[in-house]
Symmetry: C2
Subunit: 150 residues, 2 copies
């Protein structure tokens, strides 16, 4: 048995990447995965800074009722302070950061798991010198966030 | 700002645990979380061995369209060889293991991410001497697995 290094093994010839098919996205280190591109989060929009997004599940024609994204906030970066009807689940996998939910503030680190209910204002911040990265799982069908004043 | 050590901070007095509310499940080491109990996977049913489940999202009244479970397969253990209509997403967070999908077999390790389409037969196995643990994300509404002969 060979350790395959690329998700493309699962793609049959003649099919497009948008097909709903079984795939493996190999972790390549540094919180990147083969076959998953790095996107600039909310380019040119709203109050946020220094975040990238890697969409693990949701961009390749998957039929799941959820999407899984990896977000990474650079040192001193932060997400927009926002609320929306859809829930958020955050699972930290890199570094440490701060989450603001409602009027509370918590330090979160490796594998801490945060469930944020509908319409709960929230923000994630990285006050540290190392990147802060987390999985964020959301419903596939979801509303657009409303940006708030912190 | 204090580092809170328990998810109970988020539970208001007089409410039951089944309320849909914002919560933090603190990682306590050894792939366990405060407030998340360890369940014996499929007790007394089918062809599987040496697996525990910790349901991170799905047992506390959350309104998400998905559930998130941590599964841990002990050395030499394995899940049932099964298929179902719902998709599986597997993200490895502890050790290494083997996934069988259709007629293929792959080694998977830390942060490798596997998407399994509807009706794809699959099994996870741990041939190693260390525990093999992974997040498994599924739709909240899903069908019962059909056990197959390997």
């Amino acid at each position: 048995m060979k350790k395959e290094s690329f998700y493309c093994d699962f793609i049959l010839p003649g099919k497009t990447k948008k097909d709903n098919r079984t795939r493996i996205y190999r972790y390549q280190g540094n919180f990147m995965w083969h076959g998953i591109k790095t996107e600039k989060y909310k380019p040119g929009c709203g109050d946020w800074a220094d975040i990238v997004r890697r969409t693990l599940i949701g961009n390749h024609g998957e039929s799941t009722k959820f999407h899984i994204r990896y977000f990474e906030i650079a040192p001193k970066g932060y997400s927009s302070f926002e609320m929306h009807k859809h829930e958020h689940v955050v699972i930290v996998i890199r570094g440490e950061g701060i989450c603001i939910v409602g009027n509370k503030k918590y330090k979160i680190g490796f594998l801490d798991t945060l469930y944020i209910t509908p319409n709960e204002p929230h923000q994630l911040r990285n006050p540290h010198d190392e990147p802060f990265g987390f999985l964020c799982i959301v419903n596939a069908r979801r509303d657009r966030p409303k940006i708030l004043n912190p």
